[in-house]
Symmetry: C2
Subunit: 294 residues, 2 copies
């Protein structure tokens, strides 16, 4: 059975509220003939008269009064919704979904925490996964990406300070195997490396080219596991510079080199990029990123 058009209900609502076709037409900003046609159409689909017509106006029938009550609340609901939506583009509140690879979670979580402290009405969702979340599917407001420049057409990408990586060993490893004198000594040591040949991280390519396979004593697929291996003294491996500073039990074998740097990107979808909530987070993140260099 045919459902009535919502616009016709709104027209009927104004007629019931004001009592005249002309008044409703003025409020709705249409010609009064349009109002009459809406009412006629609505009554036809409902199969009942909504109004008693007379020369001085329309008086609602029982059904018309029923519609008046229902549409009244609808009117209010929509008005609230409208102003809420119009306002929320300007308000820093509601959900804010951030995504990144899990490897840099400990870098971001403090930023998220301080951001939430700054804007208590924001509910932060922090999604990390091996796969790349898609902004154009609305999966997140902001993505932190590491690696090559994002090329998606509808995304806006902004650079963050590069993620510096150096070669480290734990104090436990040094105590057991000593510290390499120079690069020629590396063959006599034990290294930790990613298992995948396909991994395109520049420092692992360097490692595969420089270190003989025999010196690589631990391989794994999970970056977090490799990092833990370095901490446990299993071997020498690459660790992000900021993590080594936090850890305290690591000895720098080779300092970070520019060619090992991984570019960090803030990526947002064009549609959401302009909103004040996203902008607030972006400035906050960029501000926090300055301290990463120190």
């Amino acid at each position: 059975m045919a459902q009535p058009a919502w616009d016709e209900i709104r027209t009927a609502f104004q007629v019931a509220r004001l009592g005249t076709v002309s008044g409703a037409a003025e409020v709705l900003g249409v010609h009064h003939a349009t109002v009459i046609r809406h009412i006629d159409a609505l009554e036809k689909t409902l199969g009942t008269r909504l109004f008693q017509r007379h020369a001085r106006g329309y008086t609602p029938t029982e059904a018309g009064r029923d519609l008046l009550i229902v549409a009244q609340t609808t009117e209010e609901q929509f008005a609230q919704l409208s102003s809420r939506i119009k306002g929320q583009g300007e308000a820093v509140a509601g959900e804010l979904t951030i995504t990144s690879i899990s490897g840099i979670a400990d870098l971001l979580v403090p930023v998220l925490a301080s951001f939430q402290e700054l804007y208590p009405q924001v509910q932060v969702r922090f999604l990390t996964d091996m796969r790349v979340f898609r902004l154009d599917y609305g999966e997140a407001h902001v993505a932190i990406r590491v690696g090559a420049t994002p090329e998606e057409p509808d995304n806006v990408a902004q650079p963050l300070p590069h993620l510096r990586t150096g070669l480290y060993a734990s104090k436990a490893y040094i105590a057991q195997h000593g510290q390499p004198k120079d690069e020629s000594d590396f063959a006599n040591h034990r290294f930790v490396c990613i298992d995948s040949e396909a991994n395109r991280a520049p420092f692992y390519r360097w490692l595969r080219n420089t270190i003989p396979a025999s010196a690589i004593s631990f391989r794994g697929t999970d970056p977090a596991a490799l990092e833990e291996a370095v901490h446990q003294g299993i071997g020498i491996g690459f660790v992000a510079a900021y993590k080594s500073r936090i850890a305290g039990n690591l000895v720098e074998i080779l300092p970070p080199r520019p060619e090992w740097d991984a570019p960090l990107w803030i990526v947002t979808h064009v549609d959401l990029h302009r909103t004040r909530k996203v902008q607030a987070f972006l400035t906050h993140l960029k501000e926090a990123a300055k301290t990463w260099l120190a």
Copy 2:
């Protein structure tokens, strides 16, 4: 500030619910291009994106999810309203407003009582006044009129048994003044008459023509007062035949004559005449009217 069109909100609601433009178009029975245009227009008036567009569909933003929730309840409200209105034309329930002149209230009230007993879900409003209520202003569902054939264009009028009127005196009057032997004796008696010369009731025209003014000892404007005067023994006067039967303290001076009869009419507005509720009352009233003759 411009309010969004309700139809566009409904379109956006279906898109948010189904996730695709095409799906919403099919449900709404319009072309998918129309759906896209509605969304674009709605987002423009709201000044915010409601959906993230991608090749596989539309995923709602925060604002879109907000709209989804609000419009969801609206959808349900309207569906309920729609079926309620569609059904109520067929249901004998809700308000039923009856109107008549106050003079025949006691004739109608028993009918109303038994009707309400028959259909307990009906709430009866019984309006009586000196003025004639106007059906085309929606003041009542059914009017009981007495007198000339109603001529209003949008009203449907059905005849009821004529209202018979006779000349009566109370037993108290008879005890004091005796009973008139014949019409020539009327000049020696006391009569009760309406005060207005303009009153067109046929029996009062007869009275004004037949009874000398000197014999009319009580005049008034309110029919109820005149009737009470007859009961109190002030004089001989016209009383509806059915009332004299009920009263029991009245003596018939002249029996009802056909030329004194007042036509009774059931009048309804065309728009409401077809509804089952009104029809139910009409049949009930006509059935009850048959007993008035007995």
